[in-house]
Symmetry: C2
Subunit: 370 residues, 2 copies
């Protein structure tokens, strides 16, 4: 990891170069333009060697002198300029805040707004991310945060002019709330753990925290609290980069699978940042349909699948990055034939702490789905 | 505040008394029964002297020997027994976990489940709360948690066999994540603050945290991150009970108002716990429609109201606990006539940190809505 000042300086330089390039075009009497990879689904592909979704080679050119593009071109440059000022002032904003700053900046005298709706500015932020090969967090734009961590890890958070140290093993019932940006001015040190356990639901995370599972089993336990936010995905990836195995423990349903594959390969929508946020080495420890044979009590605790579960299972069977694994094909076909699903909470049926035994069992037997 | 052991012992005693009462009915050859206040809207009323919503005097009797009630009676008793065992084992569960434990406990041999759907068990948990005059958190049932805090306050969290101390002023960019239960085995001490500021959106909370507003202005800043979870409402109330004024800073729209009134008076749905979670002394510092006159730049940053905003404004004008305040009547009528709304982020238009000046201005001038 670069330290923050390096990152800020680097980002400012990239933004400056971007501006200079456009100015140069103007002075050379050329049409100011920049290229970005196409972000539509047709240009999303699976990188076999890296094990993640990424954008293909299709590019598109954004030009100023083009009646259908000049407005969005102007808007993109305005976003770049505003992000530059955020970094210079060492302030962070959300994409909503950015929208208001730009809406304001044109003032009341001009009848035309830079943006009328945030839906106009959001895709242009993505354009800028791919054009400059920067993530929005590096442009001081915070994404929504969600997710929590507990474990034996030291977090050094340089926040403005103060640095705080957080001991991840002394966060009590609350855990440490994972922020949007886990790269700039923040470091993760003294990690004493054998693996990272990602648990879909906060309730199950709480259960494992209450049982001090992280301490007994030497694990870092993260809950994305549902679908993983960008910051949480990035943190999981960073911990994986430090050599820790990552095990994901989710519901056996459409959401659980989606959350897993998003962590592992990245998502189609955010394929342009997979290289930074996906964790291809992640393994799925359950809950699986095959668990019904291993833990017969679960048979009484299944639920009926709904249309979304069935649609998702069928979709997944068509994704080449999923159907290359016979284990997943078997699992998804079981869902389609049985029309049943299982929540991770169902493991708490016999006793609340059964979930601890289940996870240990899976990890000790290396009983994972890839 | 009671300490936790006291609370656990007290709760166990209440549950035991509840069971004994039913057993006594059986031995006396009486129909086992218990009474609860009616929780339907018709029995929700505003308590003028306390300034909060509460249940009225209508009661209903739940009897075992009654064809329409015997199943739910059995279910309620099963919930009570399960909660007793949670407390005894010093373990917490969610209402979802409780559902699975009860679904499991009848086993596969009996064709009838105690519960088929969680929608059956949820209202019975509420029955039990009102029947026993306990909140579910006291029954070791965790509710969803959401919300974050920063400020000069010491949190002493006795979590299982370990006690951690968290310094609320040393939580960096993340803040302290507010748990579901802020009463049992947790204490809030050494509070150095002049007031509590509640900020609807996490993004604005981050802004104020990044500016160290809490430090400069000697405030505790809480974001419920949208609608306030039970734990966050309870914490706001507890801080208010310690003598701190509570100021709420929300969007000027249907959600913002709803979040405010829920914090202040409690909600209609959870009227049975208002006495513990409502903060009648809370004040609304903005954003208000009247701000359009005080801060003219906002005129360019309004948005059109949608149907929900209009419906909510009309509803609020009909609530006697709201329309008794001429300031709110004026505000809501402005919304209805202008058909405009304002987000708190709009205050960041001129510069990101303008929001700091706005809040200071409002507090110094005591420019609140009641």
């Amino acid at each position: 990891m670069q330290n923050d000042e390096d990152q800020s300086e680097k980002t400012k330089k990239i933004l400056t170069e971007f501006g200079k390039m456009l100015v140069q075009d103007i002075f050379s009497e050329k049409n100011p333009s920049f290229n970005t990879p196409v972000r539509s689904r047709s240009n999303v592909m699976f990188d076999n060697s890296k094990g993640l979704l990424k954008l293909g080679d299709s590019e598109e050119t954004h030009s100023f002198i083009n009646t259908s593009q000049s407005k969005s071109f102007m808007q993109t440059v305005a976003i770049a300029a505003k992000c530059y000022s955020f970094i210079k002032q060492n302030q962070h904003a959300t994409i909503r805040d950015l929208f208001y700053q730009l809406k304001y900046s044109l003032g009341e005298e001009i009848d035309e707004n830079i943006f009328n709706e945030q839906s106009e500015s959001n895709p242009l932020i993505e354009d800028l991310e791919v054009a400059l090969k920067l993530r929005r967090e590096q442009l001081n734009l915070n994404a929504n945060r969600k997710g929590v961590l507990v474990g034996d890890i030291r977090i050094i958070d340089k926040f403005g002019d103060e640095t705080v140290e957080i001991d991840g093993s002394k966060t009590g019932r609350s855990g440490w709330a994972i922020p949007s940006d886990v790269d700039n001015d923040i470091k993760f040190e003294d990690i004493h753990a054998d693996y990272v356990l990602v648990v879909e639901k906060d309730a199950l995370w709480y259960r494992l925290n209450e049982d001090k599972f992280w301490k007994k089993e030497n694990a870092i336990i993260i809950s994305p609290m549902g679908q993983a936010a960008r910051g949480t995905r990035r943190l999981i990836r960073k911990l994986s980069d430090k050599g820790l195995p990552v095990y994901v423990f989710n519901d056996c349903d459409a959401w659980g699978w989606y959350i897993y594959w998003t962590i592992k390969t990245g998502s189609i929508n955010l394929a342009y940042i997979s290289e930074d946020v996906a964790t291809p080495s992640a393994k799925f420890i359950g809950v699986t349909m095959s668990d019904l044979e291993k833990y017969p009590f679960l048979k009484n605790l299944t639920m009926r699948t709904n249309d979304m579960d069935i649609k998702k299972a069928q979709e997944m069977l068509n994704y080449p990055w999923i159907n290359r694994y016979p284990e997943w094909v078997k699992e998804l076909k079981l869902v389609l034939s049985m029309k049943k699903k299982l929540e991770q909470n169902s493991l708490e049926g016999p006793k609340l702490s059964f979930v601890d035994e289940y996870i240990n069992d899976k990890i000790n037997k290396k009983d994972f789905l890839p």
